[in-house]
């Protein structure tokens, strides 16, 4: 068995005095699709942001592809910003609010990281970007600006932007929460395709049906801890913990 792609060990995170992550452990092997569910405030988004190093954390470590990210060694010394920037590119993040760059065309949004971070020549970057825009069904929108695209289209460009960097792990942070209901499926279908192709993915989602269909494992977080983890059939059909049972009952499925 090859080494896991993502290892999270004993992760602790505080905002001021409030501990929002109280020791989280999670392992993703290559091709794993893991969904994190839980009520708001349970720490699931924070966990995802720690993996992308958008949040600092105070204890524990995160390894991507065998490399400790963000911090170095038992002293938990924060790495240099340039080093952290490089490690951030190992994960691809898709946000709830899309966060496309409004002053760039769809194509430029995707090529920016390829030319500036990966230092690829423009021709090569364009080819990769066009390939991914085609994959998310937006070839004909390559020269459109985000303001000219629907929410679903923007989110698909955002997915192309992240996945074009060829990350080890893709992180999805409630990526359909800001979308009109009729636009949710076009985004979920893109994510499903990526899952089928073997992309390693960690998703925070409120779409229970989607989590059930797409995930190899589902993680239920509660008050900064992982309360229950397992295959979707077990977790959704036979929840062990009382809290998960309550959570599932209160969420539409």
């Amino acid at each position: 068995m090859a080494q896991p792609v993502l290892v999270i060990e004993n992760l602790h995170k505080k905002f001021k005095d409030i501990e929002v992550l109280k020791g989280v452990d999670l392992v993703l092997d290559t091709g794993d699709v893991v969904s994190i569910i839980g009520s708001s405030g349970s720490g699931k988004t924070t966990l995802l942001r720690c993996v992308n190093l958008l949040e600092e954390f105070h204890q524990g470590r995160i390894m991507i592809d065998g490399q400790e990210v963000g911090y170095d060694g038992p002293q938990h010394r924060r790495r240099k910003e340039s080093e952290i920037a490089r490690q951030r590119a190992m994960t691809g993040m898709v946000f709830q609010q899309f966060n496309l760059f409004p002053h760039m065309t769809a194509l430029r949004n995707v090529t920016l990281g390829l030319t500036k971070v990966k230092k690829l020549p423009a021709v090569e970057a364009n080819a990769i970007a066009e390939k991914w825009l085609a994959r998310v069904g937006l070839s004909d929108r390559r020269d459109h600006y985000p303001g000219q695209l629907s929410g679903g289209q923007q989110q698909r460009v955002a997915i192309a932007r992240a996945v074009a960097m060829n990350p080890k792990v893709m992180l999805f942070d409630e990526v359909t929460s800001a979308l009109d209901p009729e636009l949710v499926n076009e985004v979920l279908n893109v994510i499903k395709d990526l899952a089928i192709e073997g992309m390693t993915m960690l998703l925070v989602t409120h779409e229970m049906k989607f989590a059930f269909e797409v995930s190899d494992r589902v993680v239920f977080m509660n008050q900064g801890r992982i309360e229950e983890e397992g295959p979707p059939e077990e977790l959704f059909r036979k929840p062990k913990s009382q809290r998960l049972a309550e959570f599932l009952k209160s969420s539409k499925f």
Partner: protein, 221 residues
């Protein structure tokens, strides 16, 4: 009719004085805008990204200058700097006052524009692996400049108007040229009106040019 002819005749007689004054107004406002914008950009960047001590000093500079009438800045630049042994011509002293004034406005505009950008922009740029200088150059600056543009145009127009104050320290710009002409021919209403029309024309031209630029850089939606 005869009065109009008389006025036009006087304008013709004074044409070189008027043009020279206009030239000085344009040169000194132009220089103040260019140098003030460069200085103001640095000041604005310190306001947003500087270390605490630097930010504090620059904040004092900005608040102090913005809290002072331009007229007082002009007088201070001309009289106080001479007091401490810096010998300046009226033109140089006037230019310094305008540059200082302009820089604080540019700095505040830039700061406001940068801080108004959604946090998600920086986060998305970080997440694809860009370093901070790259994020600033490719993601933040292009958006902030678009947003700061209307206010910057305002500042530029403001600088042209503020340059009239330099007449009191003897910079022979348009206002002083007009005053000198009036001292010769006593046609004050006519020539003040002429001055008003010329200043309006300059600021109107700036505004029109700005509208064209604004349209060109506007994001399609």
């Amino acid at each position: 009719m005869a009065e109009l002819q008389q006025f036009l005749h006087e304008v013709w007689v004074a044409r070189w004085a008027i043009l020279q004054g206009l030239g000085t107004t344009i040169v000194i406002s132009g220089l103040a805008i260019v140098i003030g914008t460069i200085l103001g950009t640095f000041v604005g960047l310190v306001l947003v990204y500087g270390r605490l001590a630097a930010r504090f000093l620059v904040r004092i500079y900005v608040d102090f200058v913005r809290g002072t009438p331009v007229f007082v800045l002009v007088l201070a630049s001309f009289y106080l700097l001479t007091q401490v042994g810096i010998q300046l011509t009226a033109f140089q002293a006037g230019l310094i006052a305008l540059v200082v004034f302009c820089s604080t406005h540019v700095a505040e505009n830039l700061r406001g524009a940068l801080l108004s950008l959604p946090k998600g922009q920086t986060e998305a740029a970080k997440s694809i692996g860009l370093t901070f200088p790259q994020i600033f150059i490719y993601v933040l600056a292009p958006q902030a400049l678009r947003q700061a543009l209307p206010a910057w145009i305002n500042t530029a127009a403001e600088m042209v108007k503020a340059s009239t104050l330099l007449s009191v320290i003897g910079v022979l710009e348009l206002m002083l040229a007009i005053k000198q002409i009036i001292a010769r021919n006593f046609m004050s209403p006519e020539f003040y009106l002429l001055a008003g029309v010329i200043y309006f024309a300059i600021d109107y031209a700036i505004e029109r040019a700005a509208k064209v630029v604004e349209k060109r850089v506007a994001l399609p939606s």
